[in-house]
Every structure is written in structure tokens, then in C-alpha cells.
């Protein structure tokens, strides 16, 4: 038994992504059509008839494959709807890649969509099965805010320094998002504004939280050997890892809220698949799940980008800034894009696609080799985690 991966067997040859934001004038059907059109336009060699099968990621904007086949008027093709919390979009990609790698199909599409702004509610609303009413009803910011005091307590970081670290993460992601025409928020935000924003939960202010937005994104996936039929600059899948944990943190006194155990395992698996031994130097850039600022801090350690307990120093030293050694969320992250669940994973992949092809404009990094995307869904102590690694060259 082993996690073998499908390194270099599958390529991404086209992508599309709508702007993320409050699309009061567009339905999820519209967002699907928009992303789909852009994807095909980016891949002149492909038509809708070339696409053999589809994977649709959405958490709450529809059920079943009909959510995709109906707006696109697909002619009797297999469409699989997947859901895996905040990793939903990435899960669509993962399953679509496996379908190509298996030989079952030549060309498939993964598309993620989420329409959050039609509910009229603040924040996320996750549908739950009928229950006994005893599950703790913590809002997402509340449950992630548990990370900050726990991290301070374990590593001896004082509250003021932690505030600086969280502010730097939010500041950095907004600086990056200001260079991105697809972002929900395309403005830099002063550190003072971030630091003094109204408290939402624990030490988290409003600027420590990602936004709420609508959006859709998609990717066209083929066998690596067919990639150049579609584009001169495909990107290749090096690793796809997915982990669901036992979710026993909420009842396990040894869990201390300073790590996502699932992410650590998931990253190890992905590095193994891609043959990476030193992620700090081998990974050129990463899109990580910065749902809240302390999440990004903890992820730096869980993904192996910082030594345990040292992540806060690396953040303050600018290591993860756009001009740092290892740029994190060069596109602006969830912080600038909001988090339309089904679309987020594909939006992250889009940034790798742009950067590896040299199409990232003002955000363009110098000669990146490998990009990493990471999602987590759930909460500290019980989550699902996804890591992918992609590169511009085979081998």
C-alpha cells in the first residue's frame, strides 16, 4: 500500500476564472458559462465536443451534475458533482486528473462555482443534517481564532507581536491582491487599519478574515503526452494529495490548536509524490488557505515552509512577501478574493498557471519552477486537507 501519485502523467492545458466579488447581477449559471467560455477561449485547439467528462465542485450552489450540464447544455456527457468542504474545488481537479490518468478519458474539465451572496446572510452558511442540537455552534472566525492564543502560549509569542504577525499576513495579501484584476478587493490596506479593525472573534478583527464572494473557475485537463496539441505552455501535475482526519481534536486533550495534523500529513504525501525533499527551496510559490490570518501562519509550519515555532519570525522578516524567498498567495489569497467554496481551489491553480506561464503581469515572479496549492476545510482539530504541486516542465 502506498500513495503513488500521478507525477507528470497529466497536464492542464486551459483555464478560466471569473472575477470574484459580489455578483448581484450574475447567477451561478452565469458564472459557470463565463468561466467555461474563458477556458475554451484560452485553448484554441479545444472545443466543447473534445471534452469527454466533467467534475463540478460546489458546496451549496446546486446538487448533481445537472448543475453544470443544464447551463452549458452539455450533450449527454458524464458530470460528477463533488463536495469536500472548503477543498471542494481542488477535489474536482483531483478526481478529474485521476480520470485522465486512468485512461478512461482523453480530455476532461474540472469546474468550481459558488454563489454565496444570494443568501442574505453574513459569512458562510453550511447546511447540516438534522441533529440533537449539541454540536458546538462556533462561527468560522471563532473556531479559527483559537489558533492565535494557543500559538502564543506554546511558542512564547506575546500578544502584541502576534498582532503584528497577523497584520503582516493580511497586509501582504492585500498588497498582492491590489495587483490582480480578478480579486474582490483590489486595494492595499494600511497596517494601522488592519490592526485596529473591529473585533469579530477572539483577537481576529474584520481584516483578519477572508471576504465573502461569488465566483467560478475551471481547468481543462489532458494526458501529458497530448498537452502540446492544445497549448505551447501546459503545466504538469506533480502531486495531488488529499487527507481527511479523525476529527478528534475537539475531544482530545493532547490537541493544542497550534497545528493542523491533516495538513502535515497531506504535505508529506504530496512532497513524496513530487520527489521534493526541501520544500523551502524547491517550491517557487504557494497558494495557501488563508481563511483567517492565524491559519496562514500555522500553515507555514505545517507545509514545511518554516521550522515549527519559527513561522512568525519568517512572516515578519518578509520571507513570504511577493519579493521574498517563497512568495505565499501572490494573487492575493482568500483575503483579497473572498472564498466562493467550489471555485477557490481552481482559483489557486489559476495563479500557478499564470505564474508558470509568465502571464502574471505585475505579480510575475522570476522564473518559477514549481507552484503549490493548498486548501483546508473544516476546523482546527478536524479538517480535510488538499495539496497539489504543479510545474511548467516535465521531469
Amino acid at each position: 500500500m502506498a500513495s503513488h501519485g500521478i507525477r507528470d502523467r497529466v497536464a492542464i492545458v486551459g483555464m478560466g476564472c471569473t472575477p470574484f466579488g459580489e455578483h448581484w447581477d450574475r447567477s451561478s449559471d452565469d458564472l459557470i458559462v463565463d468561466a467555461f467560455k474563458e477556458c475554451l477561449a484560452s485553448t484554441p485547439g479545444a472545443t466543447v465536443d473534445d471534452i469527454d467528462a466533467y467534475w463540478l465542485g460546489t458546496m451549496g450552489s446546486g446538487v448533481s451534475g445537472l448543475t453544470l450540464s443544464r447551463p452549458l447544455k452539455l450533450d449527454y456527457k458524464p458530470v460528477t458533482r463533488v463536495e469536500n468542504y472548503c477543498s471542494t474545488g481542488s477535489e474536482a481537479v483531483r478526481n478529474a486528473c485521476y480520470a485522465v490518468a486512468s485512461g478512461a478519458y482523453d480530455c476532461v474539465m474540472a469546474l468550481g462555482v459558488e454563489k454565496l451572496k444570494d443568501s442574505g446572510f453574513s459569512g458562510l452558511v453550511v447546511p447540516a443534517p438534522a441533529g440533537d442540537g449539541t454540536n458546538p455552534e462556533l462561527s468560522a472566525p471563532a473556531v479559527f481564532s483559537l489558533l492565535a492564543p494557543a500559538y502564543c502560549d506554546r511558542f512564547g509569542v506575546d500578544e502584541a507581536t502576534m498582532r503584528e504577525v497577523m497584520t503582516h499576513i493580511a497586509y501582504k495579501n492585500h498588497v498582492n491582491g491590489a495587483k490582480n484584476g480578478r480579486a474582490q478587493f483590489q486595494k492595499e490596506v494600511a497596517k494601522e487599519t488592519i490592526t485596529n479593525s473591529p473585533l469579530i472573534a477572539g483577537q481576529l478583527g474584520i481584516f483578519d478574515c477572508s471576504g465573502v464572494s461569488d465566483g467560478a473557475a475551471c481547468a481543462l485537463i489532458v494526458r501529458a503526452e497530448d498537452a502540446h496539441k492544445y497549448t505551447d505552455s501546459p503545466i504538469y501535475v506533480k502531486a495531488l494529495s488529499f487527507v481527511a482526519g479523525p476529527a478528534d481534536g475537539p475531544m482530545d486533550p493532547t490537541y493544542d490548536y497550534t497545528t493542523f495534523r491533516e495538513v502535515t500529513r497531506c504535505a508529506q504525501d504530496a512532497y513524496g509524490q513530487a520527489g521534493i525533499t526541501d520544500p523551502r527551496t524547491e517550491i517557487s510559490m504557494a497558494e495557501v488557505h488563508d481563511c483567517f490570518t492565524p491559519t496562514e501562519l500555522v500553515l507555514m509550519e505545517d507545509l514545511g515552509f518554516s521550522e515549527r515555532g519559527e513561522g512568525w519570525k519568517d512572516v515578519l522578516a518578509g520571507r513570504f512577501d511577493l519579493d521574498g524567498d517563497l512568495p505565499i498567495n501572490p494573487d492575493g489569497g482568500l483575503k483579497s478574493f473572498g472564498h466562493p467554496i467550489g471555485a477557490t481551489g481552481l482559483r489557486m491553480l489559476l495563479e500557478c498557471w499564470l505564474q508558470l506561464r509568465g502571464e502574471a503581469g505585475d505579480r510575475q515572479l522570476e522564473n518559477p519552477k514549481l507552484g503549490l496549492t493548498h486548501n483546508l476545510g473544516g476546523r482546527p482539530g478536524g479538517c480535510v486537507s488538499f495539496v497539489s504541486i504543479v510545474g511548467g516542465e516535465l521531469g
Binding site: 452558511v125 440533537d132 462561527s139 471563532a142 481564532s145 478528534d248
Partner: protein, 463 residues
């Protein structure tokens, strides 16, 4: 009295921490100057949860007959037994009988009579709510008391006399479905109650062959009657006994009796007089067994009048832009009855790991189906970490969520209640309390929260 009758072997009281200042009410309503305060059940309390709190204190160290009698004028449900929720929260045996005596204050005497006849647990709880500016709002209070009736050999006090009188007259009433009562002119009730109390108290003492009781306590929803009867009989009412609490309805006789039991010397007698749609007197004699030490009551919390009105549904406030909570579903709640109501988790018999709620697969050693139930409601715990949630909906924002590690194993994420954010820190000692999380579509979501424990509850060193 024949001796086989059950005697009081344990008792406990619970008065919520909240206090409403009458001057605050007067200032808002522009109704002159008023002094003192009344007790206020929190937004997450009702007569059922307060009854559970009093019963937990009364039950400490006793194993009563499996009968539970619950009296209140403010039942959380009608057409559904509330005593069964109390029974479940106390984790009492399946074979038990549990019944409500709900509707009027006289149900309290019924519960005491039933308890003394059959043995068992008597739970008395009430919330006195009146329209803004009413006497019930001003003079009422919220609270609970509980008595355990058992073997006379273990008695703290025995019942040695009883007398009653009944009369049909219109003093106060409440139509089903409404939350406040209407009252007739006070002087009319005084006219009826006065002679009746005199008659019943005298008959009770004569029947027991006692000339004068050592302690006399008088309870009545007709406050003028209680006052004048106490004066005539040489006794006290809740106004003197429990300043700052108020008249607590069905719980009031219980709180008065408990206070008298606290103070009475061995061999002394206590006359309890309850005037409610009639009159009942109960005469008790204390034994030489030491009365239970009263639990130390924690610091009180001032509840602003606007908050109080909101909690009682008399002031509708702008809701948050969040979905309404779902009602707890019947089948899952029944399946998890021991957990939801009794806070019973499971302990792995292979590795001793404690799970909250019960699991089938051990999260520590992965052994399957080797679990035993473990009641955790009486365990104290320590805050491992916490957060203040300003987004979550609450009638008492902000919500304080804690990660609580219980002494002896078990971790739970739950709300801290009766607390301000400044009261909770990593390391704070907490105790469990049975509460109503919210009500959705008429279904009360009962579950456990934690509150700051009294001092002197530091964890014992492990040996």
C-alpha cells in the same frame, strides 16, 4: 404521624446570578423611586434548568426512591412532561416515575405531599414574569429548590403535622398561552385569605400537639396576605429571608423551608404556610442530623432592564444576518438522550480514554465497541483555550466559547455562561451547568454549558 412516611433527607436551592434593580425599572418606565432588586433567570435558563441545578445540590450523596415530582407555574412545555427532562439531566434510573404538577403555586404543596408519601425527589422552580410596570415584575423573582424524601432514619426533618383548606375565588389567573397573570383587587384576596390562614395554621399545630412552632415561614402569591399572616404568626416571608431575590412562586415555599432548615436547631419545629387558592400548612421537626452545608453562591450580575425585557420576549430586537438555528430533531435527540441531557460520554475500557460525546471507535487506541458510559456532569474542568465570538447570535452577546478539559479525562468545546469575557482565561476552573441553548420552532434545545467554578476547586494532584 405514622413513622413509615418519608422524611426530608436532603435539600438544595438555586437562585440565578442575575439581579434586576428596581430603580433601573423605575427609571426606564418613569414610575418614581423603587428600592431593591429581584432575581433573574438568564436567557439560557428556564424552570426546568433551574430545577436541575437545585436538584443536583439536593441529591449530593443520596439515592432517593425513583419518583420525581416537579412543580412550577411557568412550565417550559405544556402537553409534554418537563419532569422527564429533569430526570434525564440528573441521569436518574429508567424505572423512575416523573410527573409535573404545573399551573399554580399550590402544585408545590402537592409535590411535597407526594414526595413525603412515596419518597423521591421534589423539584420546585419558577419564573415570575409580569407586564412592564406590574407588581409581579417588581416583586417577583426566579429560583428553584429541591427536596429529597427518604428513610426516616436518615431524616434531616420529619413532617409531623398537616392541614388544608380550599376555596374557589378569583384572585389571580393566567390564560393558557399568555406569559403574564392578571390580578383582582388586592383587598378582596386579603379578605378571603386572612381567616383561612389563621384557621389552617391553628389546625395544623393542634393536630400535631404543638403549641407554637419555633420557626414560621409564610409564602403566598398574594403578598399582602403573606406579610400580614407572617406578622400574626410570628414568622417571616421571602421579603425578609431573601432580600434582593423576590417572591419566587412555586419555588418560594421551598426557598423559605430550606432557609429555615439551615437555621433550625435539632428538635426544633418549622411551620410552613402556603396560601394559594386555599391554604396549606406543614409542620416539620428537625432531627439532630446536621443540615447540608449551603453551597457558596457566586458573585451576582446586574442585568439591565432592556436586557431583561429582551430575554423575556417583551422587547423584540433586530436579528443578526444569520440563519435561524434548526430545531433539535426528535429521533437524534432521543438517541443521544444520555449525552444531551445527562452529559454521559464513554470511556474506552482498553485504554481509559474518555470521549465526549460517546464514540464507538476509540480516538486514542482505535479499539472498536469496548466502551463504558461515564457521567461527566459533576466533573470540574480547566479552560485549555477560549475565544469570544462576536458573530454568533446570542441573547447575551458576545458568546464565550471554551475548550474545556475535565478532571479525570474528557474534552468538550462548549459555551461559558453567566460570565463576561474578562472572567475567562486559559486555566480558569469551570463547572458544568444544564442550560437551554436556544428555542427553535417551539423546541427547547437543552444541553450543558460551563460556568466559572467557586474558589477552592483547584484540581487535585494526581497520585
Amino acid at each position: 404521624m405514622p413513622s413509615p412516611r418519608a422524611a426530608i433527607v436532603g435539600y438544595g436551592t438555586y437562585v440565578p446570578r442575575g439581579r434586576l434593580s428596581r430603580s433601573d425599572v423605575a427609571a426606564v418606565l418613569g414610575s418614581g423611586t423603587l428600592k431593591g432588586s429581584r432575581s433573574v433567570a438568564s436567557y439560557d435558563e428556564d424552570t426546568t434548568t433551574m430545577g436541575v441545578e437545585a436538584a443536583r445540590r439536593a441529591l449530593a450523596g443520596t439515592t432517593p426512591e425513583p419518583n420525581l415530582y416537579f412543580a412550577t407555574t411557568a412550565p417550559a412545555y405544556t402537553d409534554k412532561t418537563n419532569a422527564s427532562a429533569i430526570h434525564a439531566a440528573l441521569n436518574l434510573p429508567h424505572e423512575a416515575f416523573a410527573v409535573d404538577l404545573a399551573g399554580s403555586v399550590r402544585g408545590t404543596v402537592g409535590a411535597l405531599r407526594a414526595g413525603s408519601a412515596s419518597g423521591g425527589l421534589v423539584v420546585l422552580a419558577d419564573m415570575r414574569t409580569g407586564l412592564p410596570g406590574s407588581g409581579d415584575e417588581r416583586d417577583g423573582g426566579d429560583g428553584a429548590a429541591a427536596f429529597v424524601f427518604g428513610e426516616p432514619s436518615a431524616a434531616v426533618a420529619e413532617i409531623i403535622g398537616e392541614a388544608s383548606a380550599t376555596s374557589e375565588f378569583l384572585d389571580r389567573w393566567r390564560a393558557p398561552g399568555t406569559s403574564t397573570s392578571a390580578l383582582w383587587e388586592e383587598r378582596f384576596g386579603a379578605e378571603i385569605y386572612g381567616p383561612m390562614v389563621k384557621d389552617v395554621a391553628a389546625r395544623c399545630l393542634v393536630a400535631a400537639g404543638v403549641e407554637q412552632a419555633d420557626h414560621v415561614v409564610v409564602s403566598s402569591p398574594h403578598l399582602r396576605t403573606a406579610r400580614s399572616a407572617a406578622r400574626r404568626l410570628g414568622g417571616t416571608t421571602s421579603v425578609e429571608r431573601h432580600p434582593g431575590v423576590g417572591y419566587t412562586g412555586a419555588a418560594d415555599p421551598g426557598l423559605l423551608l430550606a432557609a429555615a432548615l439551615d437555621e433550625a436547631e435539632p428538635g426544633q419545629t418549622i411551620l410552613l404556610v402556603v396560601a394559594a387558592d386555599g391554604c396549606d400548612a406543614i409542620l416539620l421537626r428537625c432531627t439532630d442530623r446536621a443540615a447540608a452545608a449551603r453551597a457558596e453562591e457566586p458573585a451576582l450580575r446586574d442585568i439591565p432592564y432592556g436586557t431583561y425585557l429582551t430575554w423575556r420576549g417583551m422587547l423584540e430586537r433586530e436579528p443578526p444576518r444569520r440563519p435561524e438555528p434548526d430545531r433539535p430533531a426528535g429521533p437524534p435527540s432521543a438517541r443521544s438522550q444520555e449525552w444531551k441531557f445527562g452529559l454521559v460520554g464513554s470511556r474506552c475500557t482498553a485504554c481509559s480514554h474518555v470521549h465526549m460525546p460517546a464514540q464507538r471507535v476509540c480516538s486514542n487506541c482505535r479499539t472498536v465497541d469496548e466502551m463504558e458510559p461515564v457521567r461527566l456532569a459533576e466533573q470540574l474542568g480547566t479552560v485549555a483555550t477560549f475565544t469570544v465570538d462576536r458573530l454568533a447570535f446570542s441573547l447575551s452577546p458576545p458568546v464565550i466559547n471554551i475548550v474545556l478539559d475535565l478532571d479525570g479525562g474528557g474534552r468538550l468545546i462548549c459555551q461559558a455562561t453567566d460570565a463576561d469575557p474578562a472572567d475567562v482565561a486559559i486555566g480558569t476552573r469551570m463547572e458544568m451547568t444544564f442550560r437551554r441553548l436556544y428555542t427553535a420552532h417551539g423546541v427547547h434545545n437543552y444541553f450543558w454549558k460551563a460556568r466559572v467554578a467557586h474558589s477552592g476547586t483547584e484540581p487535585k494532584d494526581e497520585v
